[in-house]
Subunit: 283 residues, 3 copies
Amino acid sequence: MSEEAKKQAVTFGNCLDEVRKSVPLVHNITNYVTVNDVANALLACGGSPIMSDEPKDVFDITTICGGLNINIGTLNERSIEAMMIAGTRARALDHVILLDPVGAGASALRTATAQNIVNTIHPDIIRGNISEIKTLALGSGTTKGVDADVADTVTEDNLDEMVSFVKAFSEKTGAVIAITGAIDLVSDDKTCFVIRNGRPEMSRITGTGCQLSSVATAYAVANPEHKVEAVAAAVCLMGLAGEIGWSRMQEGDGNSTYRNRIIDAIFNMDAKTLEEGAKYEIR
Amino acid sequence: MSEEAKKQAVTFGNCLDEVRKSVPLVHNITNYVTVNDVANALLACGGSPIMSDEPKDVFDITTICGGLNINIGTLNERSIEAMMIAGTRARALDHVILLDPVGAGASALRTATAQNIVNTIHPDIIRGNISEIKTLALGSGTTKGVDADVADTVTEDNLDEMVSFVKAFSEKTGAVIAITGAIDLVSDDKTCFVIRNGRPEMSRITGTGCQLSSVATAYAVANPEHKVEAVAAAVCLMGLAGEIGWSRMQEGDGNSTYRNRIIDAIFNMDAKTLEEGAKYEIR
Amino acid sequence: MSEEAKKQAVTFGNCLDEVRKSVPLVHNITNYVTVNDVANALLACGGSPIMSDEPKDVFDITTICGGLNINIGTLNERSIEAMMIAGTRARALDHVILLDPVGAGASALRTATAQNIVNTIHPDIIRGNISEIKTLALGSGTTKGVDADVADTVTEDNLDEMVSFVKAFSEKTGAVIAITGAIDLVSDDKTCFVIRNGRPEMSRITGTGCQLSSVATAYAVANPEHKVEAVAAAVCLMGLAGEIGWSRMQEGDGNSTYRNRIIDAIFNMDAKTLEEGAKYEIR
């Protein structure tokens, strides 16, 4: 089979199975708000988490991993230094690197840090909400805190425009771009997956985006030849887990129980369920 | 309607509805032990959380928020600096500021930091257990770690004395004071709510106090004309959520499930349930 | 009764009851990944948690506690300094000190820090996986991230050899050594408990080891005359809670729910259940 044919033959189910088979070790430099859920989501999907954000520790730690997930949600001077050291090392080793630019646009430090990581570390994947990605692509955004501004949304009406935007930003950065929201876009410079999995109630839980970033890193590590498909599979997985988790909610349950049920659904996901539940088109 | 009449017309149900309507954005500089539950409790009540404790980040972050929740539970030199920068900025913008003096009295650093925040930032609300509040008011306390000393309790026997104490401390600081325990007191210099919601089992979960502090901040942000009522509503909400959560416990459940059920109950709370379940008198 | 007789008379059920009776206050300098579960597990078992990792705070905090749990899972320069200050103070006060050398062998900083704590603070208990303990005992290991290398396992085949190893390491360090895995070993220089509680699914949750370290600290604080028995009781408790938690799992549940059910089972454990469920032999 040619390289091209092999690439096309990959399914989301294959991507999932590769993760469970290879148990990718992912180094996470992530925020302390959602870090426990990030670790459990990574374990649930079949990966293995390590956390370290001390500049003197991260060179060694990232060396033994397969991927690096950088999330700037509660960045500080020490962790920013650690991000640069780990990122430089992971780049040198050709590890998968994902950037989650939490709150880019909400503060000068977050915007500058995310931009600097894009420009010097060259992440393989950038995953954020539309406000964060616009901030990185256009130099400014209307980020409302760490959540996307409602004025900044991917809708059926602006979908063509947004697909062009995300492909152009992928071409410029060389990264797979994932914009998550009511409609998710996962794109390289040629192929854009438009994904309609998920539930609006997921935004009432902290950390589903952070969890997705770590899971997407694991998926890309386990499927190095199919990065865009792997990230799209992870985005469908997360949204589908949100749907399955919601279907198990009972009277009196709320966002805390929902959080557990989503991670549980990632834990129980198999290739067949993912294949059948994934809702996407390719543009 | 006169200002005074408008103020008296507010109900706890109104306070709740205002939070859900306005989705107050709250900047939390809080401890890493309970931060995830703080974020989910804030989302559950209808608010929106941001966490940031880097001195170079907090000026921008607090600027875009409506309120600031400062919790010294795992303070460090960096986060103390961030508390002062964010507090000064939030004060200048007339944002609601709440101080949760976790462990004041248990270490010299905690006592000094909390005192310094009271004296220089002038928080709108101070919420702690009786040992912490006594430490701030009297310059010394008998804090046993981060939990109130049993010798230091608000009881039916010393209630009159405690109501006078809390009103005097409110007058001195200009802040709404919330002392939480078996009996909760929420007071300004004139009006003290004596609240009898809650369950003793809540003390077997880490972080119900931290959650309450963030929720109370959101309530005060959304109800700027009625701060003492808003904080009292938040305290009743938290206690009532503890009661509702407990009523859903099943055989074999313990403190971890209870934690989820309390946040779930906050998520599902509506004005009518809060009004009917609130147990308080005004002194 | 002679000292020796009193020592032999202790049961795991006695150990549990002593914890619930005395509510030991434990100072935790631990990683931010699993810290919330550590606090809730400590509360569940009957202890009381305090977290502090600021060098200027830990002297006071550890002074008011009965035990110190040092976990290097997300160590940084500041927390390492705090570990040394708190450790030195706790040693001077003859508090129980436990070291959890998370990731020793995975980075030079982790290995050096753990070695330094062993050599200068002389912990009463060292609890880790086999790779971490081998790194400390032999100066090198094959740690794969923060999980034990599969090549490094306590099995029925190498059990005699491992029992000798753990007794020798206990004699060298003067500490009770706990190696946890499919088969757990808890040993001083003379007596080794070989424990067969637990479920393999526990490794799909982050933090069961960290929880155990804090619970074991509480058990040793409450049972100062019986440290090795107390730590063995804590290891059986954790494994048994994993078994009970698993028996309550329902269709669709996964690792996030399992996490809750384990802590719930610790919360509900009583002396009789622990005695009857503990599976161990003494070598």
